[in-house]
């Protein structure tokens, strides 16, 4: 027991560091994937068939294959095929490669949510904008956008909570995130080895963070509850 109490601060130190990396990957992924997803959703709805076909194929591949494999391919492919590891072997390179994989992966999921949100807005709304002489851009930003946002908050919050936990997949290319930090105490780290319990504690981090996000999404939903779509 006294061992445990001595090890606890060391473990939390390591887990905190790992969580910081997790958080960083989470934030960067959102910053990249939220706008990229919107662009992809417009592409997939394009009347220009080659473009929409291409986007739909990409979305199929990215959603249809494991993110873990995508991480491995993005990190190792340039080095193996072109003999040029563009990411470098340092921690920064692993982080950037992870961020790229996550942004592409999540942008594809988000694009489908956006598409559902946009197509879910009744066509009469666009027509009302048209007969009032508004341009397509004005109709999107002043009529469609907020109605779309309201529609996509529930599926988006689902996806974003999944993202929090998915960040742990980045340890496959040795990005030192939260679970990686907990797992290190099995093999040995900071003078502790053969301990499984630090891994259990990682769940608390995810749980608390997702709790905060859940409250946040609840607030957004409430803020948009003044109108019905």
């Amino acid at each position: 027991m006294s061992d445990f109490l001595e090890q606890l601060p060391i473990v939390f130190d390591a887990l905190n560091e790992g969580f910081l990396q997790t958080l960083k990957l989470f934030v960067i992924t959102l910053l990249g994937a939220l706008p990229l997803g919107l662009i992809l959703s417009f592409g997939s709805m394009s009347k220009f068939k080659p473009l929409s076909g291409l986007i739909k194929t990409v979305v199929w591949i990215v959603r249809g294959s494991p993110l873990m494999i995508q991480l491995l391919i993005i990190y190792y492919f340039p080095g193996i095929v072109f003999d040029n590891n563009i990411w470098g072997s340092g921690l920064d390179g692993r982080f950037v490669a992870s961020a790229v994989a996550f942004i592409i992966n999540y942008a594809c999921y988000f694009s489908e949510i956006y598409r559902g949100g946009i197509q879910g807005v009744p066509v009469g709304q666009q027509e009302a904008g048209k007969v009032l002489g508004l341009s397509k851009t004005q109709i999107f930003f002043k009529v469609t956008l907020l109605q779309m946002v309201k529609r996509i908050v529930p599926p988006m919050s689902n996806e974003i909570i999944t993202l929090v936990k998915d960040t742990s997949l980045a340890r496959i290319i040795a990005m030192q995130e939260l679970i990686w930090a907990g797992e290190a105490f099995l093999t040995g780290s900071r003078g502790i080895s053969g301990q499984i319990w630090p891994l259990f504690f990682t769940a608390i981090y995810y749980l608390v963070f997702n709790g905060v996000l859940t409250i946040l999404f609840g607030k957004i939903e409430k803020k948009l509850s003044y109108f019905k779509v």
Binding site: P122, G124, Q125, E127, A128, G129, K130, V131, L132, G133, L134, S135, K136, Q138, K142, V143, L146, Q147, K150, Y226, F227, K228, V229
Partner: protein, 249 residues
């Protein structure tokens, strides 16, 4: 010169000819009602006038200006063309995220039709005209169908269209709410608005219209004054339509 001249409009969806060579004219201040069975092309005619659909051939001329000649126009011209017409939809299509005032001021402000103060004062006058001054801050979800439709009418009027079109404005309403909307439309007639009303409300059409068009199978089967159409219909189809309508009463 007529305010509106529609010449030989034809429109098909796939293999179905919805409008076949439709022509008519409308003078300033006149009210035209378009009646007929569902699927006769009434709504499509209105949608072509508002450029939500595009006729394959034919001309739409307002005040002597040819707005449409069977060929696509660029986006800017299209938006200018649309402003000659206003459209009130069957399902209102108010913007749910904006209150009554903003629903009405949104387009005039975006199109810079005046200063914000002018536009808002104008909107308040229109809201008073449709009898909803006490609902100015309310959101569409807080209004009855009849109230929503009256807001939609005010929204269309805010852009001062040459011709205001109504696409079955009371069809989505509970029977006890149709009266308030029809009353507002009647009120506009006295205000000198030029209107085209697609409607199934025969009593209303008879009372308010200067001119009636009876449409069947994509053509104007009969056109005339309310008295001519309702009391002395010439076409067999018109007669059959009325006898069916009366059966349903």
């Amino acid at each position: 010169m007529s305010l509106l001249e529609v010449r030989n409009i034809s429109k098909s969806f796939g293999k179905v000819d919805v409008l076949k060579d439709v022509s008519f004219t409308l003078e300033k201040g006149e009210v035209l009602s378009v009646i007929g069975s569902s699927g006769g092309g009434k709504t499509t005619l209105l949608r072509c006038l508002n450029f939500l659909e595009f006729a394959e051939k034919g001309q739409i001329i307002v005040n002597g200006e040819v707005l449409y000649d069977g060929v696509a126009v660029n986006d800017k011209k299209l938006r200018e063309n649309r402003l000659h017409f206003g459209l009130v939809f069957q399902n209102f299509n108010l913007f749910p995220q904006y209150n009554v005032l903003k629903n009405i001021t949104l387009a005039p402000k975006l199109l810079k039709k005046g200063t914000d103060e002018e536009i808002e004062a104008d909107a308040r006058r229109l809201i008073e005209r449709v009898g909803l001054s006490d609902k100015i801050e309310n959101y569409p979800c807080e209004l009855s169908g009849g109230q929503q439709q009256r807001v939609a009418i005010a929204r269309a009027l805010a852009l001062n269209p040459d011709i205001l079109c109504f696409d079955e404005p009371t069809s989505a309403l509970d029977p006890e709410l149709t009266g308030e909307v029809l009353k507002v439309i009647k009120g506009l007639k006295n205000g000198d608005s030029t209107m085209i009303v697609v409607t199934h409300e025969m009593g209303f059409a008879k009372e308010v219209s200067d001119k009636i068009i009876f449409m069947a199978d994509g053509i104007i089967e009969e056109m005339g004054t309310p008295d001519e159409i309702f009391n002395h219909p010439k076409s067999e189809k018109t007669k059959a339509f009325f006898s069916k309508s009366l059966e349903n009463l």
